[in-house]
Symmetry: C2
Subunit: 597 residues, 2 copies
């Protein structure tokens, strides 16, 4: 069905595989930009098979300086993972069991191929990547199964329940918490990407869409943007959920981990966007209905969201949808004299009750430095000189950027009020240009991790949720630890804001290739986030990697609630077992770090 609704102004950046890598003026390292053959690399690399992103020349120079490296260090890529994979993990499921799965979904949709098994076993945290670069294959499922329908998943869960076979689920594969890793031998992984990715229902009257959980971000956005052509709708829509992993993450993953998109300050986190859900659990189908609100006991949607596959398998999701109005993206960016005044302005914006901007990001001095360089405002350029004259000093100044979403006048008012408040706190208006620079790279930055890691430069991130009254302390306390490692960049920003607080996001970049060294450093950061009094995840979830900290985070009585639910849904512990959400950890494996100050 077609329709005469005018086309949407394009606003999402181009996929990274369509963006050329820029030539440097000086020495340019041999960045690997070719599409890798089937290999460890084709599994661990981010995103599109032929996508790559080398750093800008200015960033390359900065990195060399920071890490005391020279062009010599960037001659030969190491641990590139370009070798063919070897999986020495024998299949322990019996032929009868395998046949049962084949009967359930069709023989063509059950794979025992080693590469396929490995390709769904890891996520994208640096621990995953370092293991694959080092050809360490710890956990793989026996089978990879491609369900097409909810009935398939019901049958699979039934078989697993009978024989106590552990079930893992894979879709986007962008987990940074070891969320998808099949820790138990003799397990299966459902790969939802291939077939479990369909629209079930589009409802324009209720402004909602129901999709299968394996629906990927771009496909969801495509059908919503093209709702007139796809569904005969009167308008074009958006889901409003754009995590950095948007292009390679699925709706189901967003929901079960309690994810957030970069526009969440306006659209809300995924738990605010979900209206209804269906799960197949070992005790049957759980249906959380899609009423706009109600008073019929505890909220079943909010019991299931964040369960990370430990209660059951999410099959259908009903999401709120919103009018797609990229023409109302009023962009803004400001520079503040210091982080304190930026945070004060950010708080006032969120508490002033004129509605919220959509993208909302305040970078700390270290991140602001890098951004200014990446977006072309390098040291001693004319703009930089003017800024310094005006009192916006390097290593103190902070960039705040964002844009609006919603109805035109609503957006215009937000833009005006944001300017007013920023001015009050000494912010200097940088127009929308910096925002455009950020938009350009918003989904592309993860590609750069692979290219830098080829030369031993590691990038990873951790994030946490913080109330305003603790914001500056958490920022200092966690950063202090991150920076205690010599030659380490720690880029921090405040984003995903609320009237009561915001997310603090730490990006750490350092020269490191050793897994154990990384694991220790990563643990140290988690320890410090927990000890700072922040909530240890705003939107990455817990998975198996953060699980040892969870009980310390939420408290034992609260952990017991999760365990009671787990026992109810999955008494045999076949749903994503092996540490997820800390539900089956030993006492000795847990970490408790209480605030120190």
């Amino acid at each position: 069905m077609s329709n005469n609704v005018k086309p949407l102004k394009p606003w999402l950046p181009k996929p990274q595989n369509e963006v050329p890598v820029k030539q440097y003026k000086g020495y340019q390292p041999p960045w690997i930009i070719e599409t890798p053959e089937k290999s460890y690399r084709s599994i661990f690399k981010w995103g599109h098979p032929s996508g790559a992103k080398a750093p800008r020349e200015s960033l390359y120079k900065l990195l060399k300086k920071t890490f005391g490296m020279t062009d010599e260090d960037f001659q030969t890529p190491i641990f590139t993972g370009l070798e063919e994979v070897e999986v020495n993990s024998p299949i322990t499921l019996t032929k009868e069991q395998i046949k049962k799965f084949e009967d359930a979904v069709g023989k063509d949709f059950v794979s025992q191929d080693p590469y396929t098994r490995l390709s769904v076993a890891y996520g994208k945290t640096m621990i995953d990547i370092l293991r694959l670069r080092n050809k360490i294959v710890e956990n793989v499922p026996d089978l990879v199964i491609y369900p097409d329908t909810t009935e398939h998943i019901e049958k699979i869960v039934e078989i697993c329940k009978e024989d106590k076979i552990p079930i893992y689920v894979y879709a986007g594969g962008s987990s940074v918490t070891r969320g998808v890793e099949p820790m138990r031998k003799g397990s299966i992984t459902l790969d939802l990407r291939k077939r479990f990715n369909k629209v079930i229902k589009f409802n324009e009257t209720n402004q909602s869409i129901t999709v299968q959980s394996g629906m990927m971000g771009p496909e969801l956005e495509r059908v919503l943007n093209n709702a007139p052509e796809e569904f005969g709708a009167k308008r074009r829509y958006t889901c409003g959920h754009f995590p950095q992993s948007f292009e390679y993450s699925a709706v189901g993953g967003w929901v079960v981990t309690r994810g957030a998109g970069q526009n969440s300050t306006y659209y809300g986190k995924i738990e605010h966007i979900v209206l209804g859900q269906e799960y197949i659990t070992p005790v049957g189908k759980v249906v959380a209905d899609s009423y706009p609100a109600k008073a019929t006991g505890p909220d079943i949607n909010q019991i299931m969201i964040g369960s990370e596959g430990t209660f059951g398998i999410l099959t259908d999701v009903t999401l709120k949808i919103f009018r797609a109005q990229p023409e109302n993206h009023y962009k803004f960016s400001f520079i503040f004299k210091d982080f304190e005044s930026g945070v004060a302005a950010a708080r006032e914006i969120m508490q002033a009750e004129f509605g919220f901007p959509s993208v909302f990001r305040l970078s700390d001095p270290e991140e602001s430095n890098i951004m200014l360089q990446m977006y072309g405002i390098d040291h001693d350029t004319p703009v930089d000189k003017i800024l310094r004259v005006l009192g916006y000093e390097e290593n103190k100044r902070c960039i705040f950027l964002g844009f609006t979403d919603g109805e035109k006048k609503f957006c215009k008012n937000i833009h005006r009020q944001v300017k007013k408040i920023c001015k009050k706190y000494g912010g200097f208006y940088l127009t929308g240009l910096v925002t455009e620079g950020w938009e350009h790279g918003r989904f592309a930055d993860p590609y750069m991790r692979d290219n830098l890691q080829d030369f031993g430069v590691m990038i990873d991130t951790l994030e946490c949720s913080v109330n305003w009254d603790n914001m500056l302390e958490v920022h200092q306390f966690v950063r202090k630890y991150c920076k205690s490692r010599p030659n380490t960049l720690c880029l921090t920003h405040l984003s995903h804001a609320y009237p009561q607080g915001a997310n603090l996001y730490f990006i750490f970049i350092t020269k490191m290739s050793d897994i154990d060294e990384f694991v220790d450093y990563h643990k140290g950061i988690l320890d410090h986030i927990q000890a700072s009094g922040a909530a240890m995840s705003h939107h990455h979830g817990i998975g198996k990697l953060f699980a040892p900290w969870l009980e310390g985070q939420i408290g034992s009585n609260q952990m017991d609630i999760f365990k009671a639910l787990k026992k109810h849904f999955d008494p045999d512990n076949i749903m994503n077992p092996g540490g997820t959400l800390g539900l089956d950890l030993k006492e000795s494996e847990k970490v408790f770090k209480r605030p120190k100050w």
Copy 2:
């Protein structure tokens, strides 16, 4: 501490005991407006001991006409409940048990007085009122206990756990679901009004306040409105939660029932306002923390909200607070030609993304008729004539009213956009006058129930949550049943709106004094709400009265989740036992009504 912040423009209506009852031109029934002595009436009557509200003369005339009554029928009040109470329910707790409670909280704070026991046993549904008018005392607690601190409540729960003594909780007492009724013999009721009503923490940086659960609505609003004087704050605040029961309901009741205030379209339901909570349960203290958002498993706040006292006793609540800006209440009211066009406008307003109005109320034709008369636009007045000439016919036309909250320009834009959309759907602007009429009576109408019931005219309400695509059908289907009873008014409005749907609220007024007749009628309405496909409560909760329908509403697998949580928190079923949330009902007691069309 005092402060120079300018005083707040008064905007909440005066308490009803300060408003004189108007003299009629014609015959005026002997409305009981005197403060009753200690009696059944002083227990069941709404609100302030000396508050009363007789209908306007125009409404009195309409009621006579509707019910075929004459001035003769309004000569002598019946079943007034002015008699001294008699409680023949022997105390079965032992002296030792009573002493344990006295030791826990102090002898002066444990009462065995019969009037006191009865005064905390009932809520405000018509079933409660009719029982008290008929001196039917079915369930009273053995003791009424007045805790002061969380430690008191911990001790009380410990004693109850040891001896398996049922615990009930009373605060505002405005339940319309038999939520507070102590169904089990040998029970205790905690009355939180007297002492468990203090501010624990005010946090202006995070815009939050933490209070004990017995804090009443007006006191919460008083301290927030006077935050500069009370806490040395920089601004004045509001909680934004104003249910019709505002003056006689407590924070704890709002939370455990998942209530909504009349301004919820802007501020959200209570589950959107709550940041954190503490409960004392039989398995220990449960703390749901107050981060703005997070990704650390299922949402414990949303597991506990709506648990209606069946998991544990809510002690502390941390609530979001908002800037008090009554000067930005841009009022609007419109008249539409029919309900359909009003609903279409309401939906478009909620989906247009310019922010939401605060109060939002679309009355159906029958309610609009009554409102026009109550607010002075009677039949054949000049305004009425003009409206009819313009095509806004009686019994078809619908009133839509509301006002804004938030920052000034945000509010102005909403007001402008609402006008634009209403005009598009044929709405005629009635200025803000009708809204002012509504505001005047917003907390006072429940008083009228008592005065009318004295002459056998019954008023009660039921409400439900509906998606937009089912709105007109639910309205018709439920109303058809309500109106199948002869001489019955059924006033319906759509309020508490969302982009995905809204609440439908049914007020039924009929001549009826017989309890059984009422119970049958009430059941019939609940049956029809459930069969209509609506969620059977948007904000009244479930309690013991709606409990038989809950499993039919949410489904058995979902009910099993509640039961698993109940088993975890309260294995001995001592927390609000006897049907609450349908957790301890027999199969034969349940009602399942599935949508019929």
